[in-house]
């Protein structure tokens, strides 16, 4: 009761002090909720609908295609600063040059697309492989496989597709070098490798 009397006597000071405390309580809860949403966004933003193909056109050119979608069901936009795709063939029989690059594409920060909150963005790539050296190495791989009793063609080669996208989440700006530990919080890294689903 003495406490209540004291509160009533100092009502103005108590009110100010309570407002001060409640303000920071609201700020704490809001910030913690944002933190939860940001961490949750890391789990919810993902790649989906990946598909790839290889075909021979009527003029004999090898056509490699790849498409994938970035699904962003979160409340934050994602501004991508690096998007890259590459298709390679791993040739385990040819020593140091065992990776045969077939096709690739890279988009840097100067043309960074934005994946809006609550939406998907599709990325489609196609490449006509006309480089004689690349075709020569692919055919060498095919010939060796056939000589070992295997059956493979330019269309059925085990092409490995890799897709990587880096982006910043929302509008959470920080100093990239001085506050390096915040990079992992605000940066979204999305990776796809067709071998994972082979």
């Amino acid at each position: 009761m003495r406490l209540w009397k004291s509160v009533r006597r100092h009502w103005f000071s108590v009110m100010l002090y309570t407002a001060f405390s409640v303000f920071f309580l609201a700020a704490s809860l809001l910030s913690a909720a944002t933190y939860v949403h940001v961490v949750d966004a890391h789990e919810r933003i993902h790649l989906e609908e990946a598909s790839h193909s290889a075909s021979i056109l009527p003029n004999g050119t090898l056509l490699i295609t790849f498409s994938i979608e970035i699904a962003n069901p979160t409340r934050y936009d994602v501004s991508l600063y690096t998007v890259s795709w590459e298709a390679v063939v791993f040739n385990g029989t040819s020593g140091p040059t065992w990776i045969i690059p077939v096709a690739s594409e890279y988009r840097g920060s100067s043309e960074s697309p934005l994946v809006p909150a609550g939406s998907d963005m599709a990325f489609s790539y196609s490449s006509h492989v006309t480089d004689p050296l690349t075709l020569h190495r692919l055919k060498g791989y095919i010939n060796y496989t056939v000589s070992q009793g295997g059956s493979v063609t330019l269309e059925t080669l085990p092409y490995v597709h890799g897709f990587t996208a880096y982006g910043w989440l929302g509008d959470f700006e920080h100093e990239y070098l001085r506050e390096f530990y915040l990079n992992d919080l605000a940066r979204i890294t999305l990776d796809y490798d067709s071998r994972w689903y082979a």
């Binding site: 004291s6 100092h10 002090y17 910030s31 933190y35 939860v36 940001v38 949750d40 959470f172």
Partner: protein, 150 residues
């Protein structure tokens, strides 16, 4: 030092109410980019808010020793609360860890120095709070004697 039940309740209330700003400031210092509103790691602002947090115990607790002890208590409580806020996505929502290993070590490393600031600011706030209370008390006494004289 014997405390009445009223004093214990008052001390606990003050500990919670002043601990909340300490919790926010610690969290904000760790994550200035996602905090709202953010103090942007401005140590002067942090120090001034620490003084404000200490004003309450100084004003409401008559004994200086209790008020000083309350500063230690609310800083400890606030820092513990900041750790809870910091671990909320993982402890409350079971999400996957985003930051690299040594998760709590990073938090302590970046924010432990603030404890000195909070305690120092809190002590200064206690002194200011007591000065304000004494000043108000003196003024009230003066007014009451003036009335009697009339």
């Amino acid at each position: 030092m014997k405390m009445t039940s009223d004093e214990v309740v008052k001390t606990l209330l003050l500990m919670v109410m002043s601990g909340i700003p300490v919790a926010f400031m610690s969290f904000d210092f760790m994550y200035p980019n996602i905090s709202t509103p953010s103090m942007e790691k401005n140590l002067l602002v942090l120090f001034l808010v620490s003084i404000l947090a200490g004003l309450g115990p100084g004003y409401f607790l008559k004994r200086t020793s209790t008020a000083m002890m309350n500063v230690i208590l609310y800083v400890a409580f606030g820092y513990a609360l900041a750790v809870v806020l910091y671990s909320a996505p993982y402890s409350l929502y079971d999400l996957e860890l985003v930051l690299p290993s040594f998760y709590y070590a990073i938090f302590f490393r970046y924010t432990v120095i603030l404890l000195f600031l909070f305690v120092l600011g809190g002590f200064m706030g206690v002194v200011f709070g007591q000065l304000v209370r004494d000043s108000i008390s003196r003024e009230e006494t003066r007014f009451s004697w003036t009335k009697r004289d009339e």
